[in-house]
Amino acid sequence: MSTFTLAEKILSHAVGRSVRAGEMITVRPDVIMAHDSLTPAIIKIMRERLGVAHVADPSQVVMVMDHVAPASNVATANSQNIIRRFAREENLRLFEVGRGICHQVLVEEQIARPGRVIIGSDSHSTSYGAVGAFGTGMGSTDIAVAMGTGKTWVRVPETIRVRVHGRFRPGVDAKDLALWLARDMGLAGATYAAIEYLGLEWLPLPGRQTLASMAIELGGKAGIFPADGDVARRFDVPDWLTVDEDAQIKRELHIYLDEIEPQVAVPHSVDDVVDISQIAGQPVDVVFLGTCTNGRYEDMRTAAEILQGQRLAPGLRMLVTPASSQELQKAIGDDTMTTLLAAGVTLTTPGCGPCMGRHQGTLGDGDVCLSTGNRNFKGRMGHPSSQIYLASPAVAAATALTGRITDPRTIEEYRPQTTDHSDSRPVV
């Protein structure tokens, strides 16, 4: 048996011998990522509990200020200064406030690339699978021990294949597929497993990032795309990183895109998902467009096409948080951002924004939010009596226009295209 899953190939390459699902291995990750929210704790664990004063290999470590950036109070400001000092002393790469969300920045900087092993202090580190890397999230102790020793332990995961057939219908995109998978597989549907997405070689990188970021919402350890299509055009791909069709897998799901309508996750669970027709008309106070799942140029562009020449519904507020400074620049480079601003949106600093309820739009008692993010757990974005619906950027913009959850295909001025705009992405 000489066939392997993508997860097995990447981990085998990292340890220099063939490894199989189920094996416990000690691996030297190519990248160890930590963000502002947890790094002060990580430093403390490394120095005090592990008793190691310095990072084992500074070239492995990348730090990003994105969770509460810029700082919201004296405590967060001071804790970020601890990170700045540490990065300076240890000679680490640090992406400052405003550069963007860790998962977007590492892809833009090509620190995340095909075939790499990347561990991050953030659960959405599965995002790196969008570029054909093995990305997985870990807690502070794991990251601290990895920084201090250069290594971590991993159980090589079994693989669940998601084989996709057909193309999205107009007005439906990768987010609807991600929510559809949550609906089908449930919050624990891929626990301990890697997801391998097949049949999407035509899907551009942004849609792959949307899907891979949400692999964790199914409990996945990783969510890996073959490094083909748009990714092969942007990145160098190692010749060993190919899909073995006959590799040993745990399970295969077939998804037919022509069956999928716009999807909405309703409070308070990511896998409590309905067709938009079942929830259309629900009044909304806040629309949030952003996050590692849906804060890119393409997402803002989709919203701008729907909001073109219109104003937000009276009494509704809409927050737009670009995933990175580069994505923001692209939206400024054409009329995307001016269209959104003319419609009345509030633009916030590139980063995680209000996704985890700490700043830049924390929800109050009873607030109802429709978010393009990835989690709608109770209290996630603020007060526990607030409610979060999750949907695509097109649904978010259509909802912003009417003040109620709205199917974008019912907006007369909007002529949705299929989302295969692989050649339309502006070059920065």
């Binding site: 416990m24 000690t26 929210s37 947890l38 002060p40 704790a41 664990i45 509990r49 592990l50 008793g51 405590a75 967060t76 804790s79 202090s121 953030d122 659960s123 999230g137 870990m138 807690g139 502070s140 102790t141 794991d142 601290a144 021990v145 201090g148 020793t149 290594k151 971590t152 332990w153 919050l187 624990a188 626990t191 301990y192 409990g219 350890k221 669970s269 985890m356 309820g357 700490r358 924390t362 989690r375 757990f377 109770k378 209290g379 996630r380 603020g382 526990p384």
Partner: protein, 166 residues
Amino acid sequence: MSRVWKFGSDVDTDQIVPGRYAPFMLKEGQDVKDYAFIEARPDFARNARPGDVIVAGKNFGCGSSREYAPEALRRRQIGGIIAVSYARIFFRNAINLGIPVIEAPDVVDALEDGMEIEVKWASGQLKSDSGQLFELPPMPAFATEIIAAGGLTAFVRKYGRFPGEK
């Protein structure tokens, strides 16, 4: 005796400790241990005692990777967790912090909220207040090694390697 705090399925880490109570959001003198289940189960936040046991359904600890969720439970000195299953990152985090995490669907079914029980974590023996005896299934070998050492940092410090590493 230890009290059983019983939870349902899919308890996410936002419920264990909401992001707004992250340690670095707290003021001087506040401790994350006082915010464990502060919103989802305020009686736990008020009344949980050292040694108490969390009993839960499927996929306990899903969502955010925040280690301060199991850290709050560790500082609260809970005896351990018995669940039908765990989310992957939480499972790792708990083991790394030295918290016993047992998968035992039958035992979960038999235990009710508020029961007083006695658990010997090392030998896996559990006795309920009515005298019923249960055998807890063992954790994976690497997890037992880490927990016996007092957590991952203690293990690596003591042995200079990872569990299973030569």
